[in-house]
C-alpha cells in the first residue's frame, strides 16, 4: 500500500472524486494556479481547468453562498476556506442556510456542499492561523463536522463527505498535513460519517479525542505500555453529531475517561462528550471525567514560549493519562 502524507490524502481524494463525477468542483482563494496556500489542490487546476478549480474573489460568504447555490442546483462543490479562522464571515451562509435547507423545505431541496478548512496550531500561526473552530458549528442540526486524524481516514472521509447529500464541514489539522504519514489504499473506499473509530484497544483508561491529538495520545500510550498502563483510544472522527454509542461503550470499557481537545476548554466539543458520559455511564465510572484542553484564552499567541504553553502535546497527554490511571 502506498504511504502518503495527510495532505496528499486530501489531494488524492479530491482528484479521484473529480475524476469520478464531473459535478464535483473545487472553489476557494488561491486554489487554482497556486494550488492552495498549503498546496492541497496542487495539480488539479492543470488537470481539470479553471472552472472546476475556481479561484474566487476574496470573500468567504460568497464562497459558501455561491457553493450552496450550485449545490442546490445539483453540483457537488468542495469549498476551501483558506484557514478555519477565516470561516467566520461565512457563518451566516453555513448556519442559516446550508444547515437548514433540507429541513426548512421539508425535504424538497438539499445542499450537498463540502467545506474544507485547515485548523489547529503549533505552526507559529498566532491568534488567527491556529484556531479550532468546530464548536461554533457543533450545535447546528443539519450540519456534519468531520475531523480526521490519519491519512487513511482523510481519504475515506473526504470522499464520503463529497458524496454526502447534506453539507459537511471538513476540518484538517494543518500541522498534520506534512507531519503525519500512513498507508492509504489505492482503492476507491469511503468511511462512514458519524462513526467513531477505536484507534487502540486497551483496558486501563479510555482516551477520547480527535484530529492531531489522536497522534499525541497514540505516542503517549506507547510510552505508558512500558509502565504497564494499557490505554484505550477512541477517535471521534465526526465531532457533530457525535457517535453516542461508541462514546458510551468506550467510557464503560475502562471506567476512567480522559477527553482531549486542542480547543479552549470551556464550551469545546469534549464538554458534550462528557455530558453524554455523565448522562449514560455514571455508575460505570471509577474516576471523574477528566478534560485536557487549551486554556481559556482567545487563541494561541505567536511567541514560541506562549504558543507552546497553549498547545496540547505528547508530554501533557502522557501526564494526564498517568494521573488518571493512578487515580
Amino acid at each position: 500500500m502506498p504511504i502518503m502524507s495527510y495532505i496528499q490524502a486530501i489531494t488524492t481524494a479530491l482528484k479521484e472524486e473529480m475524476q469520478r463525477d464531473n459535478k464535483v468542483f473545487v472553489l476557494g482563494e488561491d486554489v487554482g494556479r497556486k494550488g492552495g496556500v498549503f498546496r492541497a489542490t496542487e495539480g488539479l487546476y492543470d488537470e481539470f481547468g479553471e472552472y472546476r478549480v475556481l479561484d474566487t474573489p476574496l470573500a468567504e460568504s460568497a464562497i459558501a453562498g455561491v457553493g450552496i447555490g450550485a449545490a442546490m442546483y445539483g453540483m457537488r462543490p468542495v469549498a476551501e476556506m483558506q484557514f478555519a479562522d477565516f470561516i467566520m464571515p461565512a457563518v451566516n451562509q453555513i448556519i442559516s442556510e446550508a444547515a437548514k435547507i433540507r429541513y426548512r423545505s421539508n425535504n424538497d431541496w438539499n445542499a450537498p456542499i463540502t467545506i474544507r478548512a485547515p485548523y489547529g496550531g503549533g505552526v507559529h500561526g498566532a491568534l488567527y492561523h491556529s484556531q479550532s473552530v468546530e464548536s461554533v458549528f457543533a450545535n447546528q442540526p443539519g450540519l456534519k463536522i468531520v475531523m480526521p486524524s490519519t491519512p487513511y481516514d482523510v481519504k475515506g472521509l473526504l470522499k464520503a463527505s463529497i458524496r454526502d447529500n447534506d453539507p459537511v464541514l471538513f476540518f484538517e489539522h494543518k500541522r498534520a498535513y506534512r507531519l503525519l504519514k500512513g498507508e492509504v489504499p489505492d482503492d476507491d473506499y469511503v468511511l462512514p460519517i458519524g462513526k467513531a473509530d477505536i484507534k487502540r484497544n486497551g483496558t486501563d483508561i479510555t482516551v477520547i479525542t480527535y484530529g492531531l491529538c489522536i497522534h499525541f495520545a497514540m505516542q503517549a500510550a506507547e510510552k505508558l505500555t512500558e509502565e504497564g498502563i494499557d490505554v484505550h483510544i477512541l477517535d471521534l472522527r465526526t465531532v457533530y453529531p457525535l457517535d453516542q454509542e461508541a462514546i458510551i461503550e468506550a467510557a464503560k470499557k475502562t471506567g476512567k475517561v480522559l477527553l482531549i481537545t486542542e480547543d479552549n476548554k470551556e464550551g469545546s466539543i469534549i464538554g458534550e462528550v462528557s455530558a453524554i458520559i455523565a448522562e449514560n455511564c455514571l455508575f460505570d465510572l471509577d474516576a471523574p471525567v477528566q478534560r485536557l484542553a487549551g486554556p481559556d484564552i482567545p487563541s494561541m499567541p505567536y511567541a514560541p514560549t506562549t504558543e507552546k504553553f497553549f498547545m496540547v502535546n505528547p508530554d501533557k497527554v502522557e501526564k494526564a493519562m498517568r494521573e488518571l490511571a493512578e487515580y
Binding site: 447555490g69 435547507i101 429541513y103 431541496w109 443539519g142
Partner: protein, 330 residues
C-alpha cells in the same frame, strides 16, 4: 389616447391580460391573508401589495420552464407566475402540512418549490443572492442556457452578501439577473437612511455590470428590462442589476404599525400610482380588459381564493413528531 406599448415588446393581448390577472390574484390573496390575520386565523402576513407589477412583469420575461428564481418574502407575484397555486399559498399561510414550501415549517413568504425551480428561502435577508449566483455558475459550467433571477429589498442591498455575490457574478460574467424592489422603506427606515447612493443601480458599475432603474409600477417597463437582461445573460454577456421603484402599500408586516414612522398622506399618494389600478386602466383604454372580462376575472379570483382558503383552513397541521424529520437525508 393610450398607446399600445406591449406589441413592440412581443407581448400579445392575451399575455398582458394574463399578467394583469396574475397581479390581481396576488393582490387578492394578500388581502385575504390580512383579513385572516385580523380575524385571528393566521399568525402572520407579509405583503406583496404595491410590488405586484414589478414581480409579475419580471417573471413574464423569464423562461418559466427552465429559469431558476430566488424570490424574497414579498414575491407572491413571482411564485404565482412560476407555477405555485393559490391553494399552495394558502396552505403556507395556515402553516399546514401540505404546504409545498415548507410543510408549515416556515412562515408564509418563505418560498420554495423545487419542481418549479423556486429556490428555498429563509428569513435572514440577502442570503439568496449568492445562491442565485451559484445556480448561474452551474449554468455556465454545464453550458446550459437558463438564467437565475434573484430579488431583494433596497434595505437588503446593504448586506455584505449583496456585494460579495454581485462581484462574484461580475468577475465570471454569470447569467444572473438581480432585481432590487425598492419600496422606499426597510421596516421603518426610509431609503435615505439606508442607502448613501441615489439609486441602487448606481452600484452596478462597481460590479462590472449594467444597472438600470425602472418604474416598478409599470409591468411592461420591467418586462422590457428583464427581457434584455435575460438576452445578455444567455448570450454570455453576464449579469445585470435592475432596480424597480415601487412602494410598500401596507405596513411592513402584520406585526408592524407603520403610523409610527410614516405619514398616511404619503401612502395615499402612492395608492394613486398603484399598478393594479394603472395597469387595469391601460388595458381598459386599449379595450383589452372589458367590463365583462373584468367581472369574469374577479369572479374567478374570488372563487379561487375562497376555495383555497377553505381547503387550507381545513387541512391538517403536521404531526408533532414530524418535526424530527428531514434534518438529514433519510
Amino acid at each position: 389616447m393610450t398607446k399600445n406599448r406591449h406589441d413592440k415588446l412581443g407581448l400579445t393581448n392575451e399575455d398582458v391580460l394574463e399578467m394583469y390577472k396574475t397581479m390581481l390574484l396576488a393582490r387578492k390573496i394578500d388581502e385575504r391573508m390580512w383579513l385572516l390575520n385580523r380575524a385571528g386565523k393566521i399568525p402572520f402576513v407579509i405583503s406583496c401589495q404595491g410590488q405586484e407589477a414589478a414581480q409579475v412583469g419580471a417573471s413574464f420575461a423569464l423562461d418559466r420552464n427552465k429559469d431558476f428564481v430566488a424570490p424574497y418574502y414579498r414575491d407572491m407575484g413571482i411564485v404565482l407566475t412560476f407555477g405555485m397555486t393559490t391553494k399552495e399559498l394558502m396552505l403556507s399561510g395556515f402553516a399546514k402540512a401540505e404546504d409545498p414550501n415548507s410543510g408549515g415549517r416556515q412562515m408564509p413568504g418563505h418560498f420554495g418549490q423545487k419542481k418549479n425551480r423556486i429556490l428555498t428561502g429563509s428569513s435572514p435577508v440577502t442570503t439568496q443572492l449568492p445562491h442565485a449566483v451559484g445556480v448561474a455558475l452551474a449554468a455556465k459550467m454545464e453550458q446550459k442556457d437558463f438564467v437565475s433571477f434573484v430579488t431583494l429589498g433596497e434595505g437588503s442591498s446593504n448586506q455584505g452578501d449583496f456585494h460579495e455575490g454581485l462581484n462574484f457574478a461580475g468577475v465570471h460574467k454569470l447569467p444572473v439577473i438581480t432585481m432590487v424592489e425598492n419600496n422606499k422603506y426597510a421596516i421603518s427606515v426610509p431609503v435615505d437612511k439606508q442607502l448613501a447612493c441615489e439609486s441602487v443601480s448606481d452600484r452596478a458599475t462597481g460590479y462590472g455590470m449594467p444597472g438600470f432603474t425602472v418604474n416598478g409600477n409599470d409591468p411592461l417597463a420591467i418586462y422590457d428590462a428583464v427581457k434584455n437582461a435575460r438576452e445578455r445573460a444567455v448570450s454570455g454577456e453576464g449579469p445585470t442589476l435592475i432596480e424597480a421603484i415601487t412602494y410598500r402599500l401596507t405596513a411592513h408586516s402584520s406585526d408592524d404599525d407603520d403610523r409610527l414612522y410614516r405619514e398616511s398622506g404619503e401612502v395615499e399618494e402612492a395608492r394613486k400610482k398603484d399598478s393594479i389600478i394603472t395597469f387595469a386602466a391601460y388595458l381598459k383604454d386599449l379595450g383589452i380588459l372589458t367590463d365583462e372580462i373584468e367581472e369574469k376575472i374577479n369572479t374567478e379570483i374570488r372563487d379561487t381564493v375562497n376555495e383555497a382558503t377553505d381547503y387550507a383552513e381545513n387541512a391538517p397541521y403536521a404531526e408533532p413528531e414530524s418535526a424530527l424529520k428531514f434534518v438529514y437525508e433519510e
